[in-house]
């Protein structure tokens, strides 16, 4: 599979940077706090790498995973997976006005995920001139099999993984957003990146 060239990787990183800025601005407004951003990391991964990341880690009791699929024109598609580290999901849910029970904690996480992924993907899609549509965000503790099945299909033999870190210190809240783009989506992505590179 064709790897991204250095120019393509640089351009993608910048597009991600802009999309990440939009998403964290929305999150910051929602939580009324400052979100700390880091430069996104991009690498090529195999399905086994992806599945290993989904394995629960005993040291991370508070980890929650939310996944949301996206698809656009010319085969551009992928999956946005959000890994949350919450020292106290209930406390955050209460502060945001959700009644205190487990179902509402889950609803809060899917709401936050929806803000992060749709804002991010709208911006990314806009920059790539790709109209995207989304599936509903789902908490993986309930439906991990769906994501695993998707990742195990042939088109996902290799995927591009983009890791973006959102950190909210005021709420002891951390979120790693992993954007997975399979081979098919990658070709379209590379074409669009080349078009952008030609402009400059």
């Amino acid at each position: 599979m064709a790897m991204l060239s250095a120019d393509q990787q640089d351009a993608l990183q910048e597009l991600m940077n802009v999309a990440m800025g939009m998403a964290s601005d929305q999150l910051a407004r929602y939580l009324n706090t400052l979100v700390h951003l880091q430069v996104p990391a991009i690498r090529l991964v195999q399905p086994s790498d992806l599945l290993a990341q989904l394995e629960p880690d005993d040291a991370e009791h508070q980890r929650q995973v939310v996944s949301q699929g996206f698809i656009g024109d010319a085969g551009f598609q992928g999956e946005a997976v959000l890994f949350y580290q919450l020292s106290n999901a209930r406390q955050l849910a209460t502060m945001l006005g959700y009644p205190a029970d487990d179902a509402n904690d889950a609803e809060m996480l899917t709401d936050i995920s929806s803000i992060l992924t749709t804002t991010f993907l709208n911006s990314l899609g806009g920059q790539l001139s790709a109209q995207l549509s989304y599936s509903a965000p789902r908490l993986l503790s309930d439906q991990q099999e769906l994501l695993v099945q998707r990742i195990e299909t042939p088109g996902w033999r290799a995927a591009l993984q983009v890791s973006i870190h959102y950190q909210v210190i005021d709420y002891a809240f951390q979120c790693e957003m992993v954007l997975l783009i399979p081979e098919l989506g990658l070709q379209t992505l590379q074409q669009r990146l080349d078009a952008i590179l030609l402009e400059y």
């Binding site: 120019d7 640089d10 351009a11 990183q13 910048e14 940077n17 802009v18 999309a19 990440m20 800025g21 939009m22 964290s24 601005d25 910051a28 407004r29 706090t33 400052l34 979100v35 951003l37 880091q38 430069v39 920059q127 952008i196 590179l197 400059y200």
Partner: protein, 121 residues
């Protein structure tokens, strides 16, 4: 005396976008730096009239650069060009002495307007 400008961004694409967005009548020698530390090295060896500064960067970020410029009492004008558009972040860069804040991807008209507002063109 001629003006020297510095574009500081870790992305090659972003540096090119800024360079291409500069108005034709912006008569300056344009230097580039790919992170905050490189920018500080340049700032300590020569006089830079205006810095176009990204915020989210490896090594040393834009906030670190603004703090160093303030601490060293350098006269360089700083125009922040960033994707991190959070209101809190915009407030912070203004407090650290940045003249203006431009949202990425940079808009040439906005850049032109700010440069003329501060008498840089």
């Amino acid at each position: 005396m001629s003006l020297t400008a510095l574009i500081c961004d870790d992305s090659v694409l972003a540096r090119k976008q800024v360079k291409k967005s500069l108005p034709e009548n912006f008569a300056a020698t344009v230097l580039t730096a790919s992170n905050g530390q490189e920018a500080l090295d340049i700032l300590s060896t020569q006089e830079i009239g205006v810095v176009f500064l990204d915020l989210t960067m490896p090594e040393l970020d834009g906030i670190g650069v603004l703090e160093a410029i303030k601490a060293r009492q350098l006269k360089s004008c700083v125009i922040v060009i960033s994707a991190d558009i959070q209101p809190e972040m915009q407030k912070r860069v203004a407090e650290l002495g940045a003249l203006a804040f431009i949202q990425k991807p940079v808009n040439p008209d906005k850049l032109n307007q700010i440069l003329s507002q501060y008498g840089l063109i």
